[in-house]
Symmetry: C2
């Protein structure tokens, strides 16, 4: 995976293609190939591998610079070149020349969008686990759910990836006894989204933290999950089960459900 | 950006290509297109846009299913199809048929690798800002630097993206007076990596949090940064300046520098 930047795009590219093959691949990321010299060095490294292992390395390239690209294309690997492949047809369609400029793939650290992401991460940390009610009105979404249902990683992912300010509140036995959501949340009903989880799985997760505790017992987990789901139904809160979902899938669903999808950039 | 999964790959793909054009694009993510019906619906939506706006939509597709793909290819957008384009040459090279299986792009939430990532996120949260010395021996990396130099978002990114267990410790005036690293860290010297930052930028960041404080003053920021850099030099700690770097760039550099790059998956 050869890139002139961090290699994150090349890596996403490679993983998505390779996942389609029932085969294990040794993966090497070569980031910051941002000069002709480094391109030569990389090409030599690839040729060397080909000689010693007698298997053609598969190269996922996102190099933008034409000269560096030319050098890499002449190595003995199989080149899958994302830019070359798609930029030319797009230039024709748009009737516009691309910039072939290095390092434009990711947000610049000085950009507004980047600053928003970092601000969102700080917001999510400050509003983790119901820690603070301050500035809750500026939250884009407030996740609720029982302890260990996946709220924290999801809020951090939403913040880091999308600049979404996400707070999260635990639903605890106190709330179930009162049969009410934490009162702070009353005025933010339209921002709330719920996570639930299979009690069996919850019990496993909690047992890793506090083995043998009442908190982790299957019985207690069943009680909490039942109560939380009943409350969310009663309050008309949209929710999903996090049991078999990755944070990427949970985050994507939340963005769709609460219409946070930002379609203009 | 049309995907049968979360659309994260399609989005990364689109952003990296579009960033090469000096033009603003309205971007719409259409995730979970995992049936023939949804493919029809998406194709119709694209055709409708073409009719109303009279501009051919550009479609970044990562659909895997052959029938869904066929439907999309017959719409009136410009189709840039990552799978179709790269999977066939790879099948030939590997002499192996791909699975054309939906939803294989991202880690399954039940996989070991995914669990490691979530465990790493929990580790990073528990070891944020020197909060805990417990299990520090299982950290992959320990970031040090003055308050607000970018340690927290970086540790979270390393955890979330790479499953790297990253702790972080602030360097504070007490440490500068003693002219020593926090003593807890003595035995983990080889895991330490430093972040520094331009004092001017640091002062701006701190002023957003505590306007007009001594903590945020340029004079104090200069003092802390000078002392921290002197300490890192004295202790032989590798470090970088986070001033103009994104968390993606910082994380990539750290992985390279401390040889955390995992090249076998």
């Amino acid at each position: 995976m050869v890139s002139d930047g961090t290699g994150i795009t090349a890596e996403t590219f490679a993983h998505s293609i390779l996942a389609q093959f029932e085969m294990r691949f040794r993966q090497i990321r070569v980031p910051f190939v941002d000069s002709v010299d480094k391109a030569y060095e990389t090409a030599q490294r690839i040729n060397e591998m080909y000689r010693t292992e007698n298997v053609r390395p598969i190269i996922f390239s996102t190099l933008v610079d034409a000269r560096a690209n030319e050098i890499l294309r002449n190595c003995q690997g199989v080149i899958l070149d994302m830019f070359q492949t798609f930029i030319e047809p797009l230039e024709q369609e748009l009737n516009l020349k691309s910039m072939h400029a290095i390092g434009r793939v990711h947000q610049n650290a000085d950009s507004e969008a980047y600053k928003n992401r970092i601000e969102a991460v700080n917001f999510s940390l400050a509003h983790d686990d119901g820690q603070s009610n301050k500035n809750l009105q500026s939250a884009d979404v407030i996740l609720v759910g029982v302890s260990r249902s996946g709220k924290t990683p999801t809020t951090l992912y939403l913040a880091m990836q999308y600049g979404v300010k996400a707070a999260n509140y635990p639903l605890i036995p106190d709330d179930f006894e009162r049969e009410k959501l934490p009162s702070t949340l009353d005025q933010y009903k339209d921002k709330i989204f719920g996570l639930s989880i299979d009690p069996q799985r919850l019990s496993e997760i909690r047992n890793e933290r506090r083995p043998g505790s009442k908190y982790a017992s299957l019985e207690n987990c069943r009680y909490e999950v039942n109560e939380a789901e009943a409350m969310m139904r009663r309050e008309g809160i949209k929710w999903l089960s996090s049991t078999h979902k990755s944070i990427e899938e949970i985050a994507t669903t939340i963005l769709q459900e609460i219409k946070l999808e930002r379609d203009v950039y």
